[in-house]
């Protein structure tokens, strides 16, 4: 087995050196690193390796994989820089800028809707907070009171960068913007500026959903958090009702249904009776989740739940944008065809 791996390593590097363009590099990648490539085939053979040799073979396999991937990156990079030295006229990047356009562009519908939401909550005293998309287990799960056995932690439901069982807090793409709540509370306590806290955090989140007309593996959420003395479910509901009326018009209604989230208790699903598009008949739309911040979350962030209470909510931006603008397929939002983007 080790000999096979050594052979793949040596032959792979040699073959890569013989590539001359992107097409041949891609063919090489498929042959060595692809789903049916030599390395994958070798991996399949791992189960026949005697138990005592498995760690060594596994380690070597990872080495070879890393080496070939690195070589691939270097090869592609080298192909890029092999440009001929300049002769004749040279580009002068120090010439001053030129402001000139024959047509105006557009902001993306998602950023437009994001700004609208931020504005409405901004008028209610909520400030924008942003946080990293590359998160860790601690902020995405532990401090949100999501215990190790919780189904939300399934590797199949998350994009992990480090193996979830790794000893340090495994890095992952955040699966929810609630991570920002944690970072803001930690920061407020550490630097002494709060609570009270009132923030909203819009941003990208990642879940390995199968892509269809209404699902994507990357989408946008907006999350709100209020922490103060004496906040209750009445404040939560009042805030969401005020939002619904400000954003969708004075006839909007809201409804809360009991639900469960590890980081809020009591928890509720949030429905709004709204006409997403002007002129539509209002109907109940499931918008997202909300609830009172779980005392365990406050405690983990260093906030005394006996003194402070809070509420939080979150919903998807795509859903609002699609409803409001009658967008039939979520994929249109990420294709960025100018003929689509230009319609807002």
């Amino acid at each position: 087995m080790l000999q096979t791996l050594d052979a793949i390593h040596a032959e792979g590097l040699a073959a890569l050196a013989g590539t001359s363009d992107h097409a041949s590099i891609e063919a090489w990648r498929l042959a060595y690193l692809g789903g049916k490539g030599r390395l994958k085939n070798a991996m399949a053979g791992l189960r026949d390796v005697p138990k005592d040799q498995k760690p060594a073979v596994g380690a070597r396999m990872n080495e070879v994989k890393a080496a070939l991937e690195a070589a691939l990156e270097a090869r592609v990079a080298a192909l890029g820089s092999a440009a001929k030295p300049a002769t004749g006229p040279r580009i002068d990047v120090t010439e001053p800028g030129l402001v000139l356009t024959e047509a105006v562009g557009r902001r993306h519908i998602l950023s437009h809707v994001r700004d609208e939401l931020v504005d409405v909550f901004g008028r209610m005293g909520f400030e924008v907070a942003e946080g990293p998309e590359l998160e860790d287990d601690e902020h995405n799960f532990v401090k949100l009171n999501i215990p190790p056995e919780h189904p939300a932690r399934e590797p199949g439901d998350n994009f992990y960068v480090d193996p979830p069982e790794s000893t340090r807090s495994a890095r992952m793409l955040r699966s929810q913007t609630s991570t920002v709540q944690i970072r803001v509370m930690e920061d407020a306590v550490k630097r002494g500026w709060g609570p009270p806290i009132r923030i909203i955090s819009p941003g990208r989140v990642y879940r390995p959903d199968t892509v269809d007309a209404t699902h994507s593996f990357m989408f946008h959420q907006i999350e709100g958090l209020a922490i103060d003395r004496g906040l209750s479910m009445v404040d939560l509901k009042s805030t969401l009702l005020a939002f619904a009326r400000a954003y969708f018009g004075p006839d909007a209604e809201i409804r809360l249904r009991p639900s469960f989230f590890p980081f809020t208790e009591p928890s509720a699903e949030l429905d709004m009776k709204i006409a997403l598009k002007p002129g539509d008949e209002p109907r109940w739309i499931e918008l997202g989740g909300c609830g009172m911040v779980d005392p365990a979350v406050l405690t983990m962030c260093g906030i005394d739940p006996e003194e402070w209470t809070g509420f939080a909510w979150g919903f998807g931006i795509e859903r609002l944008a699609m409803g409001k603008y009658g967008i039939p397929d979520i994929r249109l939002l990420y294709q960025n065809d100018l003929r689509f983007l230009g319609q807002l």
Binding site: M124, V234, A242, S259, R339
Partner: protein, 699 residues
């Protein structure tokens, strides 16, 4: 979770209609995904059960919730459970069978009962129909009883053929590393030492809490059986199910916690049904092995705390009634303390005061939370960063750029040109992103793909397609520290006719993107800020080394990004027909700089004089050198310098170019005359000739 309306109604008095079931369950926090009418007046209800409520993965659990729902006005009547061991004669189960539990820490309780001489056959109609109504295939009378238990009470069960068990024993133990087990689905599985099995005296016969073993399953010739009703540690079950990629009705329930105290009733219910549908004789003795049963937890609930969380007054009597309707024992210790003991089936999700507060909120109804039509606001200073970020997007849109939102992933090949020295890419480990596993090191990777999509769509824009995106870029240092930066990435076609682009087109396009960057910097920091572009070594293969610059914001002199021509190889990699100019601005680096807004000056009272000059300089002389020289020369009355154009050709000579600049002069107190400016221009010409070797054409 599929439930049958008819089955549900077995435990409710009076019965509910499908619409009522939906309304009551939704109100209690169990919304319905769908309602499908079925033959004979039954209906299939697909109920969403949150992960904290394993007890509601059963008809009894959901009927109990409807019974507790104040608006439903239904009475919950659980199945009657009698003990058939009581008074049964004959040899006790211990004579035929031995039970051992070596892992009570992860198998808190395992019960076993022996029934001899069963007759395996088809289930009676009521049983087969009930299971089929919830989408379960009827297999035989014995197996159907175990499925019934899972769907009725939420207690998964399993039956072993006693004859196939070596040593007539069941042993709960950890697997031996490498131990093999053929499971009910016919697959041979190799087990690890941290997995739990139910074994006979020799080998594993089921993967605990997940799936039974093939060799000990009930067959047409089975006579004597062992009925297992047990509970398992959720994490152990989850790990095994995940590792073996099996999800069963049993693992689903055990992962959500089954309390050891619920087993006795389930075991008796199961054996009664078994005797009813398959005959046989019970060997008396409900065998059980495990640790001590969990004791009933006591939680103190403060009515004052309920008021804080709900924002409303609820009477103590009403609280007590609500909690009792959920099977919680309540005793009032004093005015502000109710001592509550949740029932076994709620042992995992009712452990804290706030859990009880949630129950009161739920039973009281969330509609009863009265929203106010005013909210309290404390005004804050307008947040500069948010304002600036928006302003920058508006500026770019005004300059013809379309905002794109592209995925944060790239293929290895797509990411490679952006990998910088000393940094590595990060990737997710997920088969579904096998083609694009890399967290992109630059948002330009996404914009290039987006540009290609527009090219394929034959999208044309006057002046060429211009795109931008605000997005995070990811990398990792060699020491393993991750680096995430929010950048504004800009990508613009080099405008021109057809597909060919000459030097002047490229130069102009670089200036256009630089102009956009300057506009961004002004939007962020004010009109007093400017941009300096420093030609430099390209940090990665994405950029054309002949037209690349680091971007600094002035006057701070802080590097905020980069711009330049996209490398030809990268253009080809994406199959793009026209060359492109890109830029990346590090948002934090820019926004962390202080505003540059001086005090406002009145407009000048006197007109200016402008003079053009066209020094012929070496090709490699940059505009910046000329501008710096003008600054240094300290011309009297000098106000501003402008770039007019650059000319190459015979008159300039080979390897040289003619740059035309425009100098503006003004005096604060009078109108300048040409005689005032001539000496300044002469001084400038001399300086250009001396320091940059410039020559001058006669105009």
């Amino acid at each position: 979770m599929n439930i049958s309306l008819r089955w549900l109604n077995q435990y409710l008095q009076p019965h509910v209609s499908a619409a009522e079931a939906e309304a009551f369950l939704t109100e209690m926090g169990f919304p319905l995904e769908s309602v499908t009418p079925c033959a004979g007046g039954d209906a299939l209800l697909d109920v969403e059960v949150t992960s904290n409520r394993g007890d509601c993965l059963s008809h009894v659990g959901l009927a109990r919730e409807i019974g507790a729902c104040p608006r439903a006005r239904r009475r919950f009547i659980g199945p009657a459970i009698s003990d058939p061991h009581h008074g049964t004669q004959g040899d006790p189960a211990r004579h035929f069978f031995r039970l051992e539990n070596r892992a009570p820490e992860v198998c808190p309780r395992f019960t076993a009962q022996v029934v001899r001489g069963v007759k395996v056959g088809p289930s009676p109609t009521w049983l087969a129909q009930a299971l089929e109504a919830v989408g379960q295939r009827s297999i035989n009378n014995i197996v159907d009883v175990t499925n019934w238990l899972a769907f009725e009470l939420g207690n998964p069960a399993h039956v072993f053929d006693l004859r196939t068990l070596a040593g007539s024993a069941l042993v709960v133990r950890y697997a031996q590393d490498g131990e093999c087990l053929k499971t009910l689905d016919g697959k041979e599985r190799t087990l690890k030492a941290d997995e739990l099995v139910v074994a006979d005296a020799e080998r594993a016969q089921s993967l605990a809490g997940v799936i039974g073993g093939f060799d000990s399953q009930v067959t047409g010739t089975t006579g004597d059986v062992v009925l297992e009703v047990a509970c398992w540690d959720p994490v152990t079950v989850r790990r095994a199910a995940r590792r073996h990629r099996i999800r069963t009705d049993a693992s689903h329930r055990f992962e959500r916690y089954v309390d050891a105290r619920t087993l006795r009733d389930a075991a008796l219910r199961g054996v009664n049904l078994l005797l009813e549908v398959a005959g046989g004789s019970l060997a008396p003795g409900l065998l059980h092995e495990g640790g001590a049963l969990p004791t009933q937890a006591e939680i103190t609930l403060r009515p004052s705390r309920v008021k804080v969380m709900l924002g409303a007054e609820v009477s103590v009597a009403a609280m007590i009634a609500m909690l009792r309707s959920l099977g919680i024992d309540v005793a009032q210790r004093d005015e502000d303390a109710l001592v509550c003991a949740p029932p076994p089936w709620r042992a995992s999700d009712l452990t804290r005061e706030v859990d009880l507060i949630e129950e009161i909120a739920r039973l009281r109804g969330l509609d009863a939370v009265e929203a106010q039509d005013r909210v309290v606001v404390s005004p804050r200073a307008a947040p500069r960063q948010e304002r600036v970020k928006r302003e920058m997007r508006r500026v770019l849109a005004g300059l013809g750029f379309y905002e794109a939102v592209t995925f944060s992933f790239a293929s290895r090949e797509g990411a490679a040109p952006f990998v910088e020295h000393g940094l590595r890419t990060l990737a997710v480990d997920d088969a579904r992103r096998a083609h694009e596993p890399v967290l992109r090191p630059s948002a330009l990777a996404g914009l290039l793909a987006c540009r290609r999509a527009n090219q394929d769509g034959q999208v044309a824009q006057p002046g060429g397609v211009r795109l931008f995106e605000r997005a995070a870029a990811f990398a990792e240092t060699e020491a393993g520290a991750s680096r995430e930066r929010v950048t504004l990435a800009l990508l613009a076609d080099v405008p021109g006719e057809g597909r060919r682009r000459g030097h002047d087109d490229l130069q102009r396009a670089v200036r256009l993107v630089r102009g956009a960057v300057e506009a961004l910097v002004n939007a962020a920091l004010g009109p007093g800020a400017s941009v300096r572009c420093l030609p430099g070594e390209v940090p990665c293969a994405a950029w054309n080394p002949d037209a690349f610059a680091w971007v600094e914001a002035m006057p701070a002199g802080v590097r905020i990004g980069r711009l330049g021509l996209i490398a030809r190889s990268l253009q080809d990699q994406h199959g793009l027909e026209v060359p492109l100019v890109g830029a990346e601005i590090d948002e934090a680096a820019l926004l962390n700089l202080p505003d540059v807004r001086g005090s406002i000056r009145p407009v000048p009272a006197f007109p200016s004089i402008e003079r053009d000059l066209s020094p012929i300089v070496l090709e490699e002389t940059r505009w910046e050198a000329i501008a710096a020289l003008v600054d240094r020369t300290g011309l009297e009355h000098f106000e501003a310098l402008a770039f007019v154009g650059c000319y190459r050709g015979e008159q300039a000579g080979a390897g040289r170019k003619s740059l035309t600049l425009r100098a503006r002069f003004r005096a604060p107190d009078r109108t300048l005359r040409h005689e005032d400016v001539d000496p300044q221009m002469n001084a400038l010409m001399e300086a250009l000739a001396k320091e940059l070797g410039a020559t001058f054409r006669l105009a």
